[in-house]
């Protein structure tokens, strides 16, 4: 029963945080599904979790969110084909929950990796080491991601507000559509 007691303690401690993480990135019903999938994965892999599991939990939740987003897009494309027309872009659900229109449009215009870096430190209030662990990269790489995303967000927010129609149609791909690779710098 030792594993179970430890897991229950972990669950009680981190459930509110993981639910908040998912709820900040998708609608309520899907957020609960993501939380369930995340803790199920944590239980299945409990003996391999790191001593501080929160970054792992966030990372796993991010993966489940990404999978659900991909699934939604596939369903939309299939439905559009059945209707005999081209699919309309599915808005990225990751930041639909933000009320500030201008900020929401700017966040959508960021690439997903940079956006996630900013959200981990501002909404989840992680320090750089934990946020880097949540994204599976080194702290140095994480710093670069934050630096570039922050600069880009500043530029976007300094521009005239992006029209709501354009923002609603903006699709940020789950996987960036560019070749990329950076070593630590």
């Amino acid at each position: 029963m030792g594993d179970q007691d430890d897991f229950e303690e972990l669950f009680q401690r981190h459930y509110p945080k993981v639910l908040a993480y998912a709820s900040r990135r998708t609608e309520a019903s899907r957020a609960h599904d993501v939380v369930a999938q995340t803790f199920t994965a944590a239980w299945l892999h409990f003996d391999r979790l790191p001593p501080e599991p929160l970054p792992w939990l966030y990372r796993t939740a991010a993966n489940h969110l990404a999978n659900e987003n991909r699934s939604s897009r596939r369903q939309e494309r299939l439905a559009a084909r059945l209707r005999g027309r081209r699919s309309t872009p599915v808005p990225d659900p990751a930041v639909q929950v933000v009320e500030d229109d201008h900020l929401r449009a700017a966040l959508r215009a960021l690439d997903p990796v940079g956006r996630e870096a900013l959200l981990l430190i501002s909404w989840e209030e992680l320090d750089y080491a934990d946020a880097a662990a949540a994204m599976g990269c080194s702290v140095a790489t994480f710093r670069v991601r934050v630096h570039r995303a922050r600069r880009k967000l500043e530029q976007l927010l300094a521009m005239d507000p992006i029209g709501q129609e354009a923002a609603d149609l903006a699709v940020t791909p789950t996987i960036p559509a560019h070749p990329g690779g950076a070593s630590d710098a």
């Binding site: 709820s23 430190i121 990269c137 790489t141 990329g180």
Partner: protein, 343 residues
């Protein structure tokens, strides 16, 4: 004007405050999770223990019979490229460890832009400075002004008709590349970011460790336990990732840098090319060709200083365009990183 409080604004926009404690729904979920697992725990080990024992017996038998499976990636021990990289490893190994340095380079990548019925290609060029100081404890990376240059006369005409926009100057302007495109690669998201100090020093073990690492961590948003990925072309991936390490991480222990060169020396498919880099400097040129998915067939080029452990330039050149870069012709330099100064 830049918003100095962009992170404050982001914090204020936080759309959800966490619950003070798990609720009834959480209790139900917890009960469901731990209940389902208990039965698996009781039975599963009994099922796979005999299988593990069987595998061990087969492995033992193979060892006794001196039979081993062929290596997935052959180890190259001869040829011009091998010799050049082993010589580079010796130069690196002879160095003193660097804890403070500065690399000033110019990076470029081709962007394809479509707006209001116009399509054109522009080369985005920008300075990149990497600074490592404070005994290696402080690293910074800064980017200079980004500049767009049309590739051809037709591109220039369309670019001008589009108002000659600056990069990121508006929603209809060409956008700067994403976070990862400091040094471009072709495996979109399979990026090595492991701790080299923890990696094996043996070159063949090192490459396996790098491949294992990326299988576990390389693509964070699709990584799920048990869904490991390896690059489609492991040799090209190792060559590119090795190149990135060598061009950035001069503060690695000399033996570690030498190990990266040695690892690359053993890769199949690496060739030598003519002796000048894109800036016209004397260089040892090494290339590998990669059949990528969306980027067609690309050639990855690395130019080394023949006298010192220094990367002079990295380029990727289109050999046969793919779906993502269909607009480029064979021979076009798709991306480049040319070092101007290393001090």
């Amino acid at each position: 004007m830049p918003d100095p409080n962009v992170l404050d604004r982001l914090r204020a926009a936080n759309p959800y405050q966490e619950l003070p404690a798990p609720d009834l729904r959480a209790d139900a979920l917890l009960h469901r999770i731990v209940s389902s697992r208990r039965s698996e725990k009781r039975y599963r080990p009994k099922l796979w223990r005999p299988a593990v024992a069987g595998l061990m017996a087969v492995a033992l038998l193979l060892t006794v019979l001196h039979i081993s499976a062929p290596a997935e990636l052959p180890v190259i021990r001869t040829g011009d490229a091998h010799t050049a990289l082993i010589a580079a490893a010796e130069r690196a190994g002879d160095n003193e460890a660097r804890t403070e340095y500065r690399v000033v380079a110019e990076s470029s990548v081709v962007l394809h832009h479509a707006n209001a019925g116009r399509e054109y290609d522009v080369r985005l060029t920008y300075p990149v400075t990497t600074q490592v100081d404070d005994g290696g404890n402080h690293r910074s990376l800064s980017f200079g002004t980004m500049k767009l240059t049309p590739l051809t006369a037709a591109d220039a005409q369309a670019f001008q008709a589009d108002g000659s926009p600056e990069v990121d100057s508006g929603p209809d302007a060409p956008a700067s590349p994403g976070n990862e495109q400091i040094l471009p690669g072709f495996d979109e998201n399979l990026i090595f970011e492991g701790d080299l100090e923890q990696m094996p020093t043996d070159p063949v073990a090192l490459r396996e460790a790098m491949l294992d690492w990326v299988a576990d961590h390389g693509e964070w948003w699709t990584h799920l336990p048990g869904l490991a990925q390896r690059p489609q072309d492991p040799a090209a991936w190792l060559f590119r990732e090795g190149t990135k390490i060598l061009s950035n991480d001069y503060d690695l222990e000399p033996a570690r840098r030498a190990g990266i060169y040695q690892m690359m020396a053993g890769l199949p498919g690496v060739r030598t090319v003519s002796g000048t880099d894109p800036a016209g400097r004397e260089a040892i040129g090494l290339v590998i060709t990669e059949k990528t998915g969306r980027y067609g067939t690309m050639e990855w080029q690395l130019y080394l200083n023949p006298k010192r452990d220094e990367v002079l330039a990295i380029q990727s050149v289109v050999k046969e365009p793919g779906s993502e870069n269909f607009y480029l012709t064979a021979g076009t330099v798709y991306s480049s990183y040319v070092v101007k100064e290393l001090s």
